[in-house]
């Protein structure tokens, strides 16, 4: 590894290094977008994610029922014209609960993923660049956090903080940051050794400029990929917690808690379980495909 202090000393004059001209990077982005759009699997992911988001937004127009309104004369009703997906044990409209549940599950998925990945990435960037004992300490710490199964760690945190949306987001973030930290650290370590970074250093670019201008951009794409997969992971975690009855408190609808309730009636009213189950599956699949797509679109070595 290059001794950074020595490099900085021998090159006191900060030469302006020609970064890629703006036109170039825009063309790169356009090419990446084109590659992104060409992949059919990716389009499936985009369509799924867009459909789930639209469903969450437009649910008030799709069904006249409130997700909380009980109708004790129409409990466990099978799918019909009045209730396209049937009703639950308290006569609440499943379609409506599914849609409002999507708002919560997707919101927790997105914020839970980002709340963990962004601080994790910043830390990874820092320790990857700085190296030394700080790096070693942080990496051992991520080892320890990652030794906890995700749902076990979130369970313990929720047990202590109490149930509720914000606490679940915090718990998901705490379980998620080490992944981003390790990933970005690895990227930084690789990027530091790239020929052009060495070249820029040789001509005397300042360390901070190298870090932000030349190494940081290399970490954006893997971070996007990781965040996209993280959304799927966060949705899985939240629905798992809610399924165990330890997530979002009733009567607020979330997909996991709908399965938790519906599971008691699986023999007489299986739609109670399968409707939210399909939503969770599609959401996780959609964000996974999106992540795959971003990875392949920005990978210059793939076609």
């Amino acid at each position: 590894m290059v001794d950074r202090a020595a490099v900085a000393q021998t090159a006191p004059v900060a030469t302006t290094v020609a970064a890629a001209p703006p036109g170039d990077s825009r063309r790169g982005l356009k090419m990446a977008l084109r590659r992104f759009a060409r992949r059919r699997v990716v389009l499936v992911g985009v369509v799924i994610v867009a459909a789930e988001l639209l469903f969450a937004l437009l649910v008030p127009f799709l069904t006249p029922y409130s997700p909380l309104k009980q109708d004790l004369f129409a409990t466990l009703a099978p799918p019909s014209g009045a209730h396209p997906l049937g009703t639950d044990d308290l006569g609440r409209d499943i379609l409506s609960r599914l849609g409002y549940g999507a708002r919560i599950s997707l919101a927790i998925g997105l914020t839970g993923s980002l709340a963990g990945r962004i601080p994790g990435a910043v830390l990874g960037l820092f320790v990857g660049y700085r190296g030394g004992w700080v790096d070693m300490l942080v990496m051992r710490f991520t080892d320890a956090v990652m030794a906890f199964p995700g749902i076990v760690l979130t369970l313990a945190i929720v047990a202590v903080l109490g149930q509720g949306t914000y606490n679940i987001i915090i718990a998901i973030a705490i379980a998620g940051w080490p992944h981003a930290a390790r990933l970005i650290r690895g990227q930084v370590l690789q990027a530091r050794e790239l020929d052009y970074v060495m070249a820029i250093r040789t001509v005397g670019a300042r360390e901070r400029r190298i870090l932000f201008r030349h190494i940081l951009p290399n970490t954006v794409q893997p971070l996007l990929v990781s965040a996209s997969f993280g959304v799927g992971g966060a949705i899985t975690l939240e629905s798992g917690l809610s399924f165990l009855g330890l997530g979002i408190l009733p009567p607020t609808p979330t997909w996991g808690s709908m399965i938790n309730v519906g599971f008691q009636y699986i023999e007489i009213a299986p739609w109670l379980v399968f409707a939210p189950a399909v939503m969770i599956f599609l959401a996780v699949l959609g964000f996974n495909l999106l992540g795959d797509g971003i990875r392949e679109a920005f990978d210059p070595y793939l076609k």
């Binding site: 076990v152 369970l155 047990a159 202590v160 379980v273 996974n288």
Partner: protein, 322 residues
């Protein structure tokens, strides 16, 4: 080799201690006074004298780091404390729960690894074929399905509709092996499916890469049959990167057991954890969370050692592994 093993062992100790610190800190984040939180009574319900007495009894009057030291020392000797209400030693509570969880996790692990390696190799041997495409799509689906979805689907089909397997309950392995397998096959599959998909995708990309190596071309040009060549020359090398993910994946399998044990009403550690969280039995929660983490670290250590025996470059120095 011996030096390498000792080195890894020593390196694992601070990680184990750190997991204990994390658990300790989380448990101390309990809002409010631990006495209030642990007794579940409001401040005013207990007289200050009793509160002080309880504090002394639980060692809560000592500085935090001494409390931690005492707790860690007790755990090292196998003393995980007692439950709050019933005063049952936690180890007594956990003991009978180990069997079911270990059985399901091991079955899931074996199924996941073998199925994953198989579909990964099939895909890699004819990349971009129809077979490869079908397996890839199936893997994408399996990887996206949360544990409880797979479990519910299996239960719905095989227990509730086909009546082939029991929907819930657990039979110990040594009591009746056949019945035991029947009671665990669905939870184990629920745990294994996503894992198999991940292993399969790793295996595919790894084997594809190996098959492009010059020494494979040599083996081919010697006139070896493709299957023989893959078995004798490519498989071992392509499995190396898979080995590295086996350790951490144990954490995922444990996570699966938490969900599937609840689903199939299996009296294992995961179910005990969920029940203890609901009942606010923090000593039990601490113990189980620590055991899960500890086992994962131990598995990682085993994997590192296994990796070194498979790849002489690691144990003979070079880079230090993870």
């Amino acid at each position: 080799m011996q030096r390498y093993i000792i080195g890894r062992l020593v390196a694992a100790i601070p990680v184990v201690i750190t997991t204990a610190v994390i658990i300790f800190v989380i448990m101390r984040l309990l809002p409010g006074d631990p006495v209030v939180a642990l007794t579940g009574q409001s401040d005013t319900a207990i007289s200050p004298e009793v509160q002080d007495q309880l504090r002394r009894q639980w060692g809560l009057d000592e500085p935090l780091w001494i409390q931690f030291g005492i707790w860690l020392g007790k755990m090292a000797t196998g003393d995980f404390g007692t439950t709050f209400v019933t005063k049952i030693p936690v180890t007594e509570l956990i003991g009978p729960r180990l069997g079911p969880t270990l059985q399901i996790t091991m079955m899931g692990w074996i199924m996941g690894v073998s199925v994953g390696l198989l579909i990964g190799s099939v895909s890699a041997m004819s990349p971009n074929s129809k077979k490869d495409w079908v397996l890839s799509v199936a893997s994408l689906g399996a990887a996206a399905a949360p544990f409880f979805l797979v479990g519910i689907l299996l239960m719905f089909v095989f227990a509730l509709n086909l009546h082939m397997l029991p929907a819930s309950g657990y039979t110990p392995l040594f009591q009746d092996p056949i019945k035991s397998l029947k009671s665990t096959i669905m939870p184990a599959t629920g745990v294994a499916l996503g894992f198999a998909a991940v292993i399969g995708r790793y295996m595919r990309s790894s084997l594809v890469e190996v098959l492009e190596q010059p020494y494979i071309t040599t083996a081919r040009s010697k006139g070896l049959k493709e299957a023989t060549m893959v078995r004798r020359h490519a498989l071992r090398n392509s499995m190396l990167p898979i080995v590295t993910i086996l350790g951490f994946s144990l954490a995922d399998l444990f996570a699966g057991s938490v969900i599937t044990e609840r689903l199939f009403a299996i009296p294992g550690m995961g179910r005990l954890l969920v029940d203890s969280v609901a009942a606010r039995e923090y000593a039990v929660v601490q113990a189980i969370v620590f055991l899960f983490a500890f086992t994962t670290i131990a598995a990682n250590l085993l994997v590192d050692i296994m990796y070194a025996t498979l790849d002489p470059r690691i144990r003979l120095g070079g880079h230090s592994g993870r």
